[in-house]
Amino acid sequence: MRDRLIFSAQLIFTLIVAAFLVVPAGMSITAGVTANYFRGIASGVTLQWVAQVWELYAPTILLSFVIAFATLAVTLIVGVPAAYALHVRGGRLSRIVEEIITLPLAVPGLAIALALLLTYGSFGEFRRSWAFILAGHVVFTMPFMVRSVMAVFATLDIKTLDEGAASLGASPWQRFRNVIVPNATPGILAGSLMVVTLSLGEFNLTWMLHTPLTKTLPIGLADSYASMRLEVASAYTLIFFVMIIPLLIAMQMFADKERAR
């Protein structure tokens, strides 16, 4: 009897917390398909706002994904070998480099953006292209990739595996490809998941770095909130959800499958 009571209380508490998060999301989504938000759902259901958002922001949404996957590509190409080098080499210098890579976690995005603007703002072509935002996103997401890969290395004793492969005649590149990367896969997947979602949702930095022609999803969202009907902004949120949730689930499933292997 007492156990049941405790269980029910826990269940109710959990449901309340979940509702606290889910209800606003639901409200926002329904607002996006309501004909007139102020008259409520009774005014009718429509996809006109969604269509309008798509018309206005399709390039923005597309660019967001291009930037997210470009960020992923850069963090993979740079971050995984960096994690390997930092782990195998060890020592004080490696610790310092690791701290520097991690710094963007503590420094506000606005400050990073300001520094990038001060340094590269005068390189017109670069400043105007989406590569500028890409640079910001890489700086911001790199620690997540490096850290999650290094965490796997630490549990695997990758240094001895590396030495084992070396003793069998494998060159550094062969070791990296045949032994390091396959064994670091869980960390690489976890890192990739973080990098893509962080890049897609990043606002602070991107807001400072964007130009009217280089906007990403969250910037477009802020834009629509600030300048358009509430229904349009909500429809935008709906599109954001539809875009990002399947991506998240797919990557999570991929990661789970890899881990179970």
């Binding site: 020592g91 695997l156 004793d157 001895t160 595996l161 030495e163 084992g164 492969a165 070396a166 003793s167 069998l168 005649g169 494998a170 060159s171 062969q174 045949n178 032994v179 396959p182 064994n183």
Partner: protein, 353 residues
């Protein structure tokens, strides 16, 4: 297995020391020659520098300036491990979790560009040699400790290395398995005829496997010799006590005898010293009738350990002596016994440094 025989290289390390970045000296400059086909054991407690020396030979550590590593007379000091053609068995085995047993064993051959068919037959040969038939397709985490050890060994010798390096390969196993694998390893090393350098802190492994044993302590070589030499003729107290059980006693000497509380013990008459530190192995002490014996003591305790009984005898020397007696004599604590020790079994050691 003749396929890999005759591939051994000779090794010489010249003046190889190792000081780490933080200033600790792991190894004092040492020079050592290892003959082709010889099994050399580096023996010592943890922190004695034996693993550092192995890693310098492997090419995983660079010796301090002035140190040189030569294989068959060729300077290999700056050659990285992947081009030294050494096989290495690590204490943790370092097997690749992302590959099957067969792929692990064949990895070095694959790197060397050996074609699939030849590789498969070579892997099969090694699987048979190391008694792991049937496990080829297993994943590494599906293997027991002993099986992993065999896979690691098969993988290391698959590449027909000139030198096989083994870093405490049996330490991670339980005692019974360790004994069995030690015997197997010994037969395998003899069969391969390969030059092997074996690091261990276990004196039983060193005795059984080594053609020669290098005893190390605090980064320095203390003694080099055959297992018999280091056991019967230890150079100092450290070697005497580290290699096997030993009674080390200090006593004055008078006309060829140690003067002990329990009597007089003859020693090698050539020793003409006023006092000595002497080492007596427990098994070299014979039990005799107390009345006629030159040296007597009282049994403190008797522990029956199966193949022998271990006695602690007090009153004979300044401190209690450990004595191994045959398991058939009836002895009990409190009894007075005579001790008979051949003069040649008393090893006089230099005074303590």
């Amino acid at each position: 297995m003749s396929a890999a025989a005759g591939h051994g290289a000779s090794v010489r390390i010249e003046n190889c020391g190792k000081t780490f970045a933080d200033g600790t000296q792991a190894l004092e400059p040492a020079t050592l020659d290892i003959a082709r086909g010889e099994t050399l054991v580096l023996l010592g407690p943890s922190g004695c520098g034996k693993t550092t020396m192995l890693r310098i030979i492997a090419g995983l550590e660079l010796p301090d300036a002035g140190g040189k590593v030569l294989f068959d007379g060729k300077d290999m000091t700056l050659v990285p491990i992947e081009r030294r053609n050494v096989g290495m068995v690590f204490q943790s085995y370092a097997l690749f979790p992302n590959m099957s047993v067969a792929d692990n064993i064949g990895y070095g051959l694959k790197i060397r560009g050996v074609a699939g068919k030849e590789r498969a037959s070579r892997v099969a040969e090694l699987v048979a040699l190391t008694n792991i038939t049937g496990l080829e397709d297993r994943r590494i985490d599906q293997l027991s400790g002993g099986q992993r050890q065999r896979v690691a060994l098969a993988r290391a010798v698959a590449i027909r290395p000139g030198i096989l390096l083994l870093d405490e390969p049996l330490t991670a196993l339980d005692a019974a398995l360790r004994d069995r694998l030690r015997g197997e390893l010994n037969r395998l090393l003899r069969a391969l005829g390969i030059t092997a350098i074996y690091v261990t802190h276990d004196q039983a492994e060193a005795m059984e496997l080594g053609d020669r044993v290098v005893v190390m302590r605090k980064g320095a070589i203390v003694q080099i010799g055959s297992p018999r030499e280091i056991y019967f003729e230890p150079k100092n107290r450290f070697v005497a006590e580290f290699v096997g059980a030993a009674n080390v006693i200090e006593a004055p000497l008078a006309d060829g005898h140690l003067i002990l509380p329990g009597g007089r013990q003859p020693v090698d008459p050539a020793a003409n010293l006023p006092a000595a530190v002497a080492m007596i192995r427990p098994e070299s002490v014979g039990i005799v009738e107390a009345r006629t014996a030159p040296l007597t003591g009282i049994i403190d305790s008797v522990s029956f350990v199966g193949d022998r009984q271990r006695l602690v005898v007090s009153g004979a020397a300044q401190k209690p002596l450990t004595v191994d007696a045959p398991n058939t004599i009836k002895l009990k604590a409190g009894e007075r016994i005579g001790l008979s020790i051949a003069p040649g079994a008393v090893r006089l050691l230099p005074p303590e440094i």
